[in-house]
Amino acid sequence: MSSEWPLWEVFIRGQHGLNHRHVGSLHAPDAEMAIKNARDVYTRRNEGVSIWVVKSVDIAASSPSDKGPLFEPSNSKVYRHPTFFSIPDEVGHM
């Protein structure tokens, strides 16, 4: 028989309070075990304080062909990037 354990995507929030970040995937029979497995697999070096898991098949992703329309508009908003603004040296670090 042997039905394969589903694949889960693992997201971990590290020590420094940043957002959960995708770190990889693993197999587990259900969500609870996926969290346990994620602790054992992906926090072996104290990497995280909080774990999210989601079934890989449940992730809705932008389709690659949308790449242009979805992302190009933000490329044109260069003012969102700090280097857009030149600050006089006398002002110091900003």
Binding site: S2, S3, L7, G24, L26, M33, V41, R44, P64
Partner: protein, 332 residues
């Protein structure tokens, strides 16, 4: 390397490529990462499955020769370090299987191919670890050779593979050092320990050189893989780099490299050395290495013996989900 003799397709010239293939090649040439759901040539996908799969298999079969000595490690600290290292290898196998899975093959399918012999793992793990010094030699030479290949692969064109390699390289940084540390203790130890260290180097030197695979200067497979940036350096380049790096390390240990032809070549600024015995290499790949049967046998046994466990957890998860669903209905 961990992925040896990976067959690819002959390299196509720009004229032979379809417009899609040309656009794809342009992206690779620009250094863009290719992500799983994006268009890719079928050959790229197939070659990557073979390569990543073989790499993953090598990690988990690679647990066995070192795992051999966990219960015999000579101190509590050595035991913990070795266990952590072998555990990392399981983790690296896991990351790599996940990377391969994004290409449309499941981990269980890959494992089936390992178990039925249709996919290979690195030749190096078919050699036995006979003494504690072998654990040092494996870390020093085998991990050292693997790192040579894995560091450049961090820049490979396939996103999931590249990300897995970045994580693996970060975690592996202590592996080679722990091996060399064992070798230092042995080489500076009692006469018996020193003899064990030399013996380990004698037995692992040539198999370590074979890890890079036969010369592929002329190989069409390699040319295509390099164009796709799933192979970064030629086998000979990596082998040369490995020898040049390792010889001074052996000298520091006071051990001699078992090769009468080893000599510094001022002109090429590198060492000349003997080719390993490629007949032996092909025998090992064909299944006739000293430990092929044990290694594959151990993996198959673990998988078969564990079937009831994996099935039971699926059954429980299904029951549990059904119970929760029933409880929700009852509550409404």
């Amino acid at each position: 390397m961990y992925a040896q003799l990976v067959k690819s397709e002959g390299k196509k010239s720009a004229e032979e490529m379809s417009p899609e293939e040309r656009a794809f090649q342009d992206r690779v040439d620009r250094g863009e990462k290719i992500e799983p759901k994006e268009w890719m040539p079928e050959g790229y996908r197939k070659t990557l499955i073979r390569q990543i799969g073989q790499h993953a298999h090598s990690e988990i079969v690679g647990q066995l020769p070192e795992g051999n000595w966990i219960t015999r490690a000579p101190t509590l600290e050595r035991k913990a370090i070795l266990l952590a290292k072998v555990q990392d290898e399981a983790g690296h196998g896991l990351y790599l299987y996940c990377a391969a899975e994004t290409l449309g093959i499941s981990r269980d399918q890959l494992l089936d191919k390992l178990h039925d012999g249709s996919m290979k793992y690195s030749s190096i793990f078919n050699y036995p670890t006979l003494t504690w010094a072998d654990i040092g030699a494996v870390g020093w030479l085998v991990d050292g050779a693997a790192i040579m290949n894995q560091v450049p692969l961090q820049k490979t064109s396939f996103g999931p593979y590249s990300r897995a390699m970045i994580r693996i390289c970060k975690e592996e940084s202590f592996h080679q050092r722990q091996g060399y540390d064992i070798m230092m203790k042995m080489a500076q130890g009692t006469p018996e320990q020193k003899a064990m260290a030399q013996d380990a180097l004698n037995r692992f030197w040539s198999p370590a050189l074979m890890m890079f695979g036969p010369s592929d200067k002329e190989s069409v497979h390699s040319a295509q893989s390099m164009a796709w940036k799933i192979k970064i350096d030629t086998n000979d380049e990596l082998r040369q780099k490995f020898v040049d790096q390792t010889v001074p390390q052996a000298e520091y240990l006071g051990l001699s490299i078992p090769d009468p032809n080893l000599k510094w070549n001022e002109e090429k600024k590198g060492y000349d050395f003997s080719e390993p015995d490629w007949t032996e290499f092909f025998e090992v790949i064909a299944g006739n290495g000293p430990c092929n049967r044990e290694r594959l046998g151990a993996r198959v046994k673990a998988w078969e013996d564990g079937a009831w466990f994996r099935d039971a957890l699926v059954a429980h998860a299904e029951k549990d989900a059904a119970r929760r669903a029933a409880a929700r209905v009852a509550a409404e």
